[in-house]
Amino acid sequence: MRKDFVPRRQTRRPRLGLVAVYAALVLGVAVTVFPLLYMASTSLKDQVYVLEVPPQLLPTNPTLDNFGAAWTSNHFSRYFLNSSIVALVTMALVLLLGSMMAHGLARYRFRGHRLVRALILFFMVMPAMSLLVPQFVLATRLGLLDSLAGVAIVHIAQGLPLATFILYGFMIGLPRELYEAALVDGAGAWRMYRSIALPLCRPALATVAILAFLGSWDEYVWALTIINSADQRTLPVGIAAFQGVHTSNWGLIFAASMIAVTPVIVLFALLQRHVIRGLTAGALKG
């Protein structure tokens, strides 16, 4: 069937002058991506050329030396591994605990229901850093100082309220008849969660997973506070420390940064809809 036979509904939405709009949009995009492209270009420069006068947009003799040096020296591959472990554990546990809590709240009536919901809303608003000091004292007492487990457990606690909130909002909309049918089939409580609630929530779970992963991967302050030894650092802490040691070795710093940022940007490019939904989730409903 030929598409052009279908008359396109003429829209009266105000459209601004096209050429001017494109020009402005492209200029805006240029300013937006310039810092990232310049970082990428700098990471390919020889140390000699990094603080050139005048600064050059493109490397004169592009080289991957910085990437090799960043990866092999300074525990950097270790930071990458640490961040991966912490972010994946955080993601898995936020998904599990958050979906269980959301299911409990969405499916059952129980004493304390309102209190649990209030708690979740409260900690969605509470600034994370205002609990930094007591969390540090607690981690010290529990012997979690300088450990990846200590980093992950607080990332989980930080991610859980919003994750539960998103999943609860989704699960409350699932039709009750599904559970009743399963009940007739003799399904237990766990099977209803596992085989009905979870599969139906897949889009929300994807959103929550990305949100938890990104939150943990980029988190800086808590990891900085409880990690002391160099080989326990996560990527953000490692990169910031890098900058402290190699003050003007920007080629090396940006090669390290590129290694940290690339997985996230690839993830974003592949799962755009979920990422945008996840990052704006708090905004859509209150």
Partner: protein
Amino acid sequence: MSGRLSRGGLVPYLFVLPGLAVLGVWLVFPLVSALQMSLHDWDIVPGSKSPFVGLDHYAQLVSDPLLLSTLANTVAYVIVTVAGQLALGLAAALGLESVRRGRVLLRTLYFVPVVTSWVVAALMFRYLFNSSSAGMVNHLLVSVLGIVGRPVPWLNEAGTAFIAIFALGIWKGVGFAMVLFIAALQAIPEELYDAAAIDGASRRRAIRSVTLPLLAPTIVMTAVMLTIGAFQVFIPVALITGGGPVHRTEVILTYLYDVAFRQLDFGYAGAISFALAGLVFAISQIQLRFMRQSALAG
């Protein structure tokens, strides 16, 4: 609502408790002990006595000149970056909604800074705003545009350092505001524009009398969310200036970090934490009230 939920005896607790335990230990308990710390001269050596000082730390808040200047810096950051993100986010959203080709690609590119790590972004801006003539911003201003005569020593003075910090704050958040505005723009019913056209409204008039009024709730809500986020600024300051020179670019959270982990004054740090949390909660109440209002209206 809860009338249609089932009673499950112990079962619901089994679902809720594991998560609740994590929240209890790592959020609720720290919240209580932060309050306790703020009322004591907290001694970090375990087992030693921490004398009760009542509200002294809260009184200290008001008389600490450094805290007042960090608060002023934070408010400046909030005003400039929130205004910048709203204006540019709205412009980008209106622009993207009026073109057809390349819309998805452009939107994606605008959103990339939002997913870029704060630490990496801060280091990037530090490099761009390098004080010598090797810095890209200086090069643009001096050699390309010829606006200033000599390279600006950006990070050596508070005023110019804030330009770099504000620029980062705006750059990082425009895409976020933009996607919220795009969603709101797409929710405006076509009929309203038809009606405006029939009444002979110009394009500009349609934007002013249809688009903007209907966007107002989203603009307010986005402003509140960005404000809450901006009050918690830490990384841009910590990594671009470190609060210097001599505390002149310090914001609330970098100062909190300094009080807690350099001066080891946990009691006073607790009071600062609560003051900030109180501020953030007050702002979020505005958001809540506003959302209730718009829910009633809609």
